[in-house]
């Protein structure tokens, strides 16, 4: 392991170190084709149907933040992993690891919020588990959710379907969730103006697949590692390059200001209610129109395209028409000193 012989926080950051950990320790141990595809959810053939199956653990700090809480996040996050895989979510599990001493009121509020999020999407939480650990062996509350769904018949998604000329759409402003969490954590003053985008993207995903079928080549929700990580995953798996245009990327000005203040690249910052969609050029406008007609997609925009490239590279054309590379983030973003 590159960074020493111990696990660092950066190994969980969704960047290069996470990737290395998965490839060097986890995949070799469990080796099978389904897992090794590293898709947002695993696809399992069951008779004529494809079942999609996914799981995710939530360890957000603070538990409550502007725009959501760990309960809503745990439900929406897993729904989103199913949705971007082209699946119609059927049911979720929800498991709790609770630190001794957590106030019952806090737990009630979070469970209520998870229930409300599931109800909004009309997806039942059908099983779960509860464990309590000694004080100081966990940070208040961790949640794991798993989900199953049925693959939509019209969904034909995959890295291998991405081709030069395809367009890249992002379904709204970037960095909102990550900067909201970070501003809470760092005790920054403008936190009230920042709001997490924590939401289900099931509506957008279902509608674009329903309307455009195999013209939708690939979808992924750019969570940890932000847009930069998702676009790098795409180029690494599809043997193409991607070019994006800074002036087209929707960003909330307060989010941008907060990121600048802490020295972060907004492209590296997490989202929790957005989708990156790779769509064929002839259906791009239609796809954009559908996104913009959805609850969470009003600010959707075409931000770039897949280009010919002899190496997997994401390039950004900046506002002043300069060019630079967008790399896979390292893992743990640290605020700068001054």
């Amino acid at each position: 392991m590159a960074a020493g012989d111990k696990i660092l926080l950066a190994h969980g950051g969704g960047g290069r170190l996470s990737d290395e950990l998965i490839r060097s320790i986890i995949l070799p141990a469990f080796k099978n084709d389904t897992l090794c595809r590293l898709t947002d959810s695993a696809e399992i053939q069951f008779g004529k149907d494809s079942i999609c199956f996914t799981t995710d653990s939530y360890v957000v700090k603070p538990l409550f933040f502007n725009g959501g809480d760990i309960g809503r996040l745990a439900v929406c996050g897993t729904i989103n992993d199913l949705a971007v895989s082209g699946a119609e979510p059927l049911a979720l599990s929800l498991s709790l690891i609770i630190e001794e001493g957590l106030e019952l009121e806090v737990l009630k509020k979070i469970i209520g919020s998870a229930a409300a999020a599931a109800k909004e999407e009309n997806i039942p939480i059908v099983c779960g588990d509860t464990k309590v650990v000694e004080a100081n062996s966990a940070d208040k509350l961790f949640i794991n959710t798993s989900g199953i769904g049925i693959k939509m018949p019209r969904a034909k998604l995959g890295f291998e379907r991405i081709a030069v000329g395809d367009k890249i759409i992002i379904t709204g402003t970037i960095g909102d969730h990550g900067m909201t969490i970070m501003s809470h954590r760092e005790g920054m003053k403008f936190e009230s103006n920042l709001k997490s985008d924590c939401a289900s993207v099931a509506e957008i995903c279902a509608k674009v697949i329903e309307a455009l079928g195999d013209d939708i080549k690939f979808m992924r929700d750019p969570t940890r590692g932000g847009l930069a990580a998702t676009l790098n995953e795409i180029v690494n798996q599809s043997n193409c390059g991607i070019e994006i245009h800074e002036s087209s990327i929707p960003v909330n000005p307060t989010v941008k200001a907060a990121a600048d203040m802490l020295g972060f690249d907004i492209l590296d910052i997490a989202n929790e209610g957005k989708v990156v969609i790779v769509v064929s050029p002839k259906k791009t406008e239609k796809c954009l129109e559908i996104c913009q007609g959805c609850k969470t997609g009003k600010e959707a925009a075409i931000i770039g395209q897949v280009v010919q490239s002899d190496e997997p590279l994401v390039e950004l054309e900046t506002i002043i028409k300069g060019r630079r590379i967008v790399q896979m983030p390292y893992g743990r973003e640290l605020p700068r000193i001054c």
Binding site: K6, R16, G322, R336
Partner: protein, 364 residues
């Protein structure tokens, strides 16, 4: 926008003609370095303009010996180390703070204020504050020292290694083989010290000093202004960051710095010992002084073998010319500090220009 870019082009061409060679401008601020790369500015400028990334990132200029001294305390069970985030990844001889976080005694803080809270929450621990940074973070450390003094806090210790920007600029220009024609002066630091602080540099060395904020267009304007001065052979101090920087600077901040610290000689990575460049706590604060109270010793270290951070910081070398760049030294496995800090020159070259193991787009 286009008009301002064109104006910069004209001035760059004029300066180049007058100098009869490439114009070399050094930025002395890590945030400028990152803004320049992030906006792809280097790819928009003509040949004949070279931007050098100087000693403007607090992590990068911190001497190895200081890091080792902090690391020596990280293993002690009675200590809590409070540090700005950037510092935790810098490798010392025995690993980095990031690799020692498993003991739970490394706390990342965003402001010096948090250190006082830590001290109160952990009365049984000795809190060591890794006090680094330029004139930007020094006032906060000063406030912390004064508050701790006033409240009689007994378990807080400050390991001051705050640096002053102007002495470093003068040291660079005093080197025989430097290639600096002008300075793009830091934004945040200038808010504190004021743009007049650069007057001695202009008077003694006849080099333009222009302060700018961090918007790419303002940086372009500053480069334009620098080149105009070079072409007219009239070096002076100018500030384009008028929204935040005054000629005299922030008097309150300067006052508390002066009341809390003595200016002493200090070690800079790559630049060696620079006279009157480092802030150390005054005698009055001896009981808060980590060097005096915790028995730590700050022994300046030789630079790491093969690492060219020193040459990079002095503007004598671009990161890709270092033998370790992108081979042995990457953001995951940094050898030198310029690859560690997000604002370090090497990290910026790596992150924003590296293609197929070679740099591109950052005009050399």
């Amino acid at each position: 926008m286009l008009e301002r870019i064109n104006r910069a082009y004209t001035q760059i061409a004029r300066a180049q003609k007058v100098l009869g060679r490439t114009v070399n401008i050094m930025e002395v601020c890590g945030t400028h370095t990152v803004s320049i790369f992030r906006a792809g500015l280097r790819t928009t400028f003509p040949e004949g303009l070279k931007l050098l990334s100087g000693p403007g990132c607090p992590v990068c200029i911190t001497d190895q010996g200081y890091i080792d001294a902090v690391l020596s305390l990280a293993d002690r069970d009675d200590c809590l180390i409070a540090t700005y985030g950037d510092m935790i990844r810098v490798p010392g001889r025995k690993g980095s703070l990031e690799q020692k976080t498993n003991k739970g005694n490394i706390k990342i803080i965003l402001s010096a204020e948090d250190v006082l809270k830590l001290a109160k929450q952990n009365p049984a621990k000795k809190i060591l504050f890794v006090a680094v940074g330029f004139e930007t973070t020094a006032p906060a450390t000063a406030v912390l020292a004064n508050e701790a003094f006033r409240q009689g806090v007994k378990n807080l210790f400050i390991f001051s290694n705050h640096k002053l920007v102007v002495p470093a600029m003068e040291a660079l220009l005093s080197e025989k083989n430097h290639r600096i024609d002008a300075f793009l002066c830091p934004g945040h630091v200038s808010v504190i010290i004021g743009s007049d602080a650069y007057k001695p540099v202009v008077e003694r060395f006849e080099k333009p000093c222009v302060v700018a904020g961090f918007e790419p267009m303002q940086i372009i304007d500053a480069i334009s202004e620098i080149c105009r001065q070079l072409a007219d052979r009239k070096p002076e101090v100018a500030s384009l960051y008028r929204a935040a920087v005054t000629a005299a600077g922030n008097k309150t901040a300067q006052k508390i710095i002066n009341e809390t610290f003595d200016v002493s000689n200090g070690w800079w990575r790559g630049l060696g010992k620079i006279k009157k460049s480092t802030l150390k706590l005054k005698k009055k604060f001896s009981h808060l002084d980590a060097e005096k109270q915790l028995g730590i010793e700050f022994i300046p270290e030789e630079d790491l073998t093969g690492c060219c951070c020193g040459e990079v910081l002095c503007g004598l070398m671009d990161p890709p010319d270092c033998g370790l760049f992108a081979t042995n030294c990457t953001p995951e496995t940094p050898v030198g500090p310029c690859m560690v800090s997000s604002e370090g020159a090497c990290a910026a070259w790596f992150k924003y220009t590296l293609k197929k193991g070679k740099v591109d787009g950052g005009r050399r």
